[in-house]
């Protein structure tokens, strides 16, 4: 069974305003960004008869703009464009690393940040970095706009808080003050074109006296949605990083996630590897 071209209805807005109007009038339409996910289903014959809202002509959503505090990334900016943007490379390296692990280069050239978010896979590679950068997602309908905290966008596996007729306009990311330590790690079956068994991003700042001023750590593929490790972060804040403290933090990890056994991995493996990633992130240069 394959995709049937004749069964598809195509809406081709030329402007953002037209797209939002058309979406309001056709709430069942599938907004199509880079197509790297939808076309797989369509090729398999699983999406025939749908109405497609093709977003490919919405130029304003394809730009990365500088703001006073960071960048505003249009929802149709590709993973490739994020990787080659000089300021994004310099100030948001975790996001750049995540974009470089999505599929192969061909997927990175088509797949978009907004599409990745709207798709809401529990394993979205860009999600742990966006969670620790505390990104905001700007949503628009024909009439209004609102901004959600990144973590609030996701309500379950492949489910988002987007309302009917609402499209992602942009993702706002403030540049963080320079961290003492930062890390992105994805664990999958191979380096490219693999979906994560677990995926982690961390940022850590130290005080002048060597205490942990703030730490942010997020995990993907470990719950229905991306998770910040709230208990771990709270435990570590303001403390001297000792190996005993790190072990306490590692023991707490399980509180903040709920991994499952599935075709890609097991709950036990995911927990073990995630604990190792957290330990590796916290350990360098700690005092005994």
């Amino acid at each position: 069974m394959r995709g049937d071209t004749e069964s598809m209805t195509l809406l081709r807005p030329r402007s953002v305003e037209e797209a939002l109007r058309l979406y309001a009038a056709n709430p069942g339409a599938v907004p199509l960004a880079g197509g790297t996910d939808f076309m797989v289903a369509w090729n398999a014959g699983e999406a025939n008869g749908r109405t497609i809202l093709d977003l490919s002509r919405l130029a304003p959503w394809k730009r990365i703009r500088l703001t006073k505090t960071g960048v505003r990334v249009g929802s149709l900016v590709t993973h490739r464009e994020l990787q080659i943007h000089p300021l994004v490379r310099k100030r948001l390296p975790l996001l750049v690393e995540a974009c470089a692990t999505i599929g192969g280069g061909q997927i990175q050239a088509r797949g978009t940040l907004g599409g990745n978010i709207a798709n809401a896979s529990p394993a979205g590679d860009t999600f742990p970095p966006l969670a620790v950068y505390e990104a905001r997602v700007r949503l628009r309908t024909a009439g209004e706009s609102r901004t959600l905290r990144f973590l609030d966008v996701f309500t379950g596996v492949k489910k988002t808080a987007l309302a009917q007729g609402e499209l992602i306009d942009s993702i706002e990311i403030d540049f963080p003050r320079r961290p003492a330590r930062q890390s992105f790690r994805k664990v999958g079956t191979r380096a490219a074109s693999a979906i994560a068994k677990t995926v982690a991003a961390g940022l850590l700042w130290l005080s002048a006296d060597g205490r942990i001023r703030e730490v942010r750590f997020a995990l993907g593929s470990m719950a229905p949605t991306v998770r910040r490790l709230a208990s771990v972060e709270a435990l570590l804040a303001g403390k001297k990083p000792t190996s005993r403290l790190v072990e306490e933090a590692v023991d707490l990890l399980e509180n903040d996630v709920s991994p499952i056994d599935d075709l890609r991995s097991t709950r036990a493996y995911r927990l073990e590897v995630s604990r190792n990633l957290l330990r590796a992130f916290l350990s360098p240069g700690l005092t005994r």
Binding site: M39, V40, N43, S56, G103, G104, G105, A191, A192
Partner: protein
């Protein structure tokens, strides 16, 4: 009706707009060099260049290629006159059964043309989205490294000539 540029020629396409770029190239434009492998964006056999970037043509509805520049393996060379990259695949044994080869060549060509470095690690990263089940990759990587070396040397000579 939409217009796009295929291998430097302006082409018009009149047909269902949700047809895959892969099928439009093969069936409507009779450019059958581009192959379908997995049909789900994993294998890279159908890779063509869209505005210079490698993409999986099985995942691009032709409507999204309107106004773009598409380059397929037919743009590289012909049997009687292969491009340097194709020649290198031939000499180094970079092709066996041939199904992955058109996609492999296009990804490699974008890399070489863009001045990608001639080291095996970088080449492997660039080719990560192209699978080959015959060669074990060694010979493919060697072909690309060899071409990158020559192309980068050529570029360097030109740069020096201009500086003089």
């Amino acid at each position: 009706m939409i217009e796009l540029t295929v291998n430097r020629k302006k082409r018009r396409y009149r047909g269902p707009l949700f047809k895959r770029l892969l099928d439009v190239l093969r069936e409507d434009f009779e450019l059958t060099g581009t192959k379908e492998g997995c049909g789900e964006g994993e294998c890279g056999a159908c890779t063509v260049l869209l505005d210079g970037e490698p993409v999986n043509s099985c995942l691009v509805p032709v409507v999204q290629a309107e106004g773009t520049r598409v380059e397929t393996v037919e743009s590289l060379g012909v049997s009687s006159r292969l491009s340097p990259l194709q020649q290198s695949f031939l000499e180094e044994g970079g092709a066996q059964c041939g199904i992955c080869t058109p996609g492999m060549l296009m990804t490699a060509w974008a890399y070489v043309r863009g001045g990608g470095p001639a080291d095996p690690e970088s080449v492997r990263t660039a080719l990560a989205g192209n699978l080959c089940r015959c060669t074990g990759y060694q010979h493919i990587v060697a072909s690309v490294v060899e071409t990158a070396k020559r192309e980068n040397a050529k570029r360097e000579r030109k740069r020096r000539a201009r500086a003089r």
